[in-house]
């Protein structure tokens, strides 16, 4: 019966319509799903490619720096073996005083310090000022002087002889107490002299000058020439409190740790210094 069928047909129609709708919807869902999956795959692919690119970039940079390190090593080897003509003979006329700052922990390795000093002595450096914060090198002074043989402390060295004619190396030992503490003592020295003048009736303002401070430092035993070059051996890229008064125009080079010191690196730094032109601000 039609009414009976109609519902069925209708139902069927309806059902078919729904089915269509459902099928369409399912197709749409499927389509959406596929799109979503594709988008996700695409996104992950892009992410993966970015990761890859980033790591490739880092690999390239690491390789570059590795190559640079190798090049430096090779250069240091060539310098040490004397194959590079430019580094064989150094003009040290401008290097009147070389200072070495050593990390106090590394300063305990006296043998390395002695080796470094013997290198310097061999190339003709005439005056070396050794510094570490805690005075470890000061305590090892006798051992170092004995091992070097041809070095003298400033008080014994013949300061009258011309700088380039000296046969031995002058070796100074300096620590934190010669820095700021030394300046404080020099200030105290100057103030005492000023008070003496004031008490004897000279009523004038204190006229301290830089040369007077230099003389005062010398008078209290904290004097010394300004180093032309300062080599810092240690992990920190600072001079660790080296007597500041003497550092006005000193070239400062960080050399890395003492345990990885290289003859070639030292020679390279000294040669670079000999080519520097200073106009002293003018």
């Amino acid at each position: 019966m039609l009414p009976v069928h109609i519902p069925h047909v209708r139902l069927a129609h309806l059902n078919n319509g729904c089915l269509h709708l459902q099928v369409n919807l399912r197709f749409m869902d499927l389509g959406d799903e596929i799109q979503r999956v594709l988008r996700s795959v695409g996104h992950n692919l892009v992410k993966l490619l970015r990761h890859l690119l980033w790591h490739l970039l880092h690999l390239a940079v690491s390789t570059w720096y590795f190559g640079l390190d190798l090049a430096h090593l090779l250069q240091h080897y060539l310098i040490s073996s004397g194959l590079l003509r430019n580094y064989k003979v150094l003009n040290l006329s401008n290097l009147r005083c070389l200072a070495i700052v050593v990390d106090s922990e590394e300063a305990q390795h006296t043998s390395r310090v002695v080796e470094l000093l013997s290198w310097l002595s061999a190339i003709g450096v005439k005056h070396v000022c050794l510094y570490d914060m805690e005075g470890v090198l000061k305590e090892s002074k006798e051992i170092i002087l004995k091992k070097l043989g041809d070095a003298r402390p400033p008080e014994v060295a013949d300061e009258r002889s011309l700088f380039l004619e000296r046969k031995h190396m002058v070796l100074e030992f300096v620590s934190l107490s010669d820095g700021k503490e030394g300046v404080a003592k020099a200030a105290s020295f100057l103030c005492s002299n000023y008070l003496k003048g004031a008490s004897s009736g000279e009523d004038q303002e204190p006229v301290f000058t830089e040369p007077e401070m230099t003389s005062a430092l010398r008078a209290i035993g904290c004097g010394g020439p300004d180093p032309d070059l300062l080599l810092v051996y240690g992990s920190a890229r600072c001079h660790l409190g080296f007597p500041a008064w003497r550092l006005r125009y000193t070239e400062i080079v960080h050399m890395g740790s003492l345990k990885s010191m290289k003859y070639g690196a030292m020679i390279k730094s000294i040669r670079k210094f000999t080519m520097v032109h200073q106009n002293y601000g003018s």
């Binding site: 980033w54 940079v61 720096y65 020295f189 500041a244 550092l247 006005r248 400062i252 002293y280 601000g281």
Partner: protein, 314 residues
């Protein structure tokens, strides 16, 4: 200089720690980008300095907002920023000579680079910025060059004062002011008074200054005090001298980081007393070319060293 910024995964930065920090270069940019950074910039490579703005015209390279341009780069950690940065601004003359320009152009470009550095320092939480503007030895330069520099400095200070007030910058000037032109001396006093109560970045100009001059002046002040009986000569210690130095105008008198441009590796009589434990960064760029990228590079190196060796008293 180039700046490479990509959306990056977090990677272990330890493999780079044994490399020595290099001056600003493409490779150092990549090395320093070690943290994930949601990239919003369309342009990846950008190279712009204050010097280009004066002589090369501004390049339209990015579509970033002003805020993004000044925000702390992802490779820098705010908690490891140095409190006090000192700068020796070297290389203005050489920069001008390289371009066949008068030295005054170099100074102009240099002052522009300085204003950019001040902006960055304000945004990135640096508390004190000390710049070596003019050394006592610089008085030996040709009078014309010195006069031009002093006039230029005076003009820029007047022009930038409003902006510096908006940025809450406090200005201090250290050095032998008696040698400065009268107009600059008057301006110095006005500027210091006007900005005295500002609590942001403290900008210290070292003008007609040297480290030895600073120490000697401190000794003179102490000598006056000994004459007045306020202190005995035997009681003079490092701390007493410290209080009399001109850098006593700031809460953080000891720089954490010193930057010197132009490749020279010396302190040149700047803040001798104060630099005992300061990290020294010698950068090859000439001062007018020292831009944001160089500054980021130096700060990254500083922070890496800080990370390795822990804090230190400043």
């Amino acid at each position: 200089m180039v700046s490479l910024q990509l959306p990056l995964p977090k990677i272990n930065n330890r493999i780079f720690l044994h490399f020595n920090p290099k001056p600003a270069s493409f490779f150092s940019r990549v090395r320093n980008c070690s943290r994930a950074f949601p990239c919003k910039k369309k342009s990846i490579f950008a190279s712009w300095t204050a010097a280009d703005a004066i002589f090369g015209g501004e390049e339209e390279t990015t579509t970033t907002t002003a805020e993004e341009e000044w925000s702390l780069p992802s490779e820098l950690r705010p908690e490891l920023m140095p409190k006090h940065v000192a700068v020796i601004m070297d290389g203005n003359g050489r920069w001008a000579r390289q371009r066949n320009l008068p030295t005054s152009f170099g100074h102009k470009a240099g002052l522009r680079a300085l204003t950019d550095l001040i902006d960055l320092s304000c945004k990135w939480g640096i508390r004190v910025l000390t710049v070596f503007a003019f050394s006592t030895e610089n008085w030996l330069r040709p009078k014309l060059e010195v006069d031009i520099f002093m006039n230029l400095f005076e003009c820029v200070l007047k022009e930038e004062l409003k902006k510096l007030m908006r940025q809450d910058v406090r200005i201090s000037v250290i050095g032998d002011s008696k040698k400065l032109p009268k107009s600059l001396q008057k301006l110095k006093t006005e500027v210091e008074d006007t900005t005295r109560n500002n609590s942001g970045l403290q900008l210290i100009f070292a003008l007609s200054y040297t480290g030895q001059y600073d120490i000697v002046e401190a000794c003179k002040s102490i000598a006056e005090k000994t004459k007045d009986g306020m202190i005995q000569p035997n009681d003079i210690t490092e701390a007493v001298i410290e209080q009399e130095l001109e850098t006593n105008c700031t809460k953080f008198p000891h720089p954490d980081l010193l930057i010197r441009t132009s490749g020279e590796q010396r302190i040149s009589n700047f803040l001798l007393w104060q630099l005992a434990y300061t990290e020294l960064a010698f950068v090859k760029s000439l001062w007018p070319d020292f831009g944001k990228a160089d500054f980021v590079d130096v700060l990254c190196s500083f922070q890496q060293r800080q990370r390795r060796y822990g804090g230190r008293d400043s």
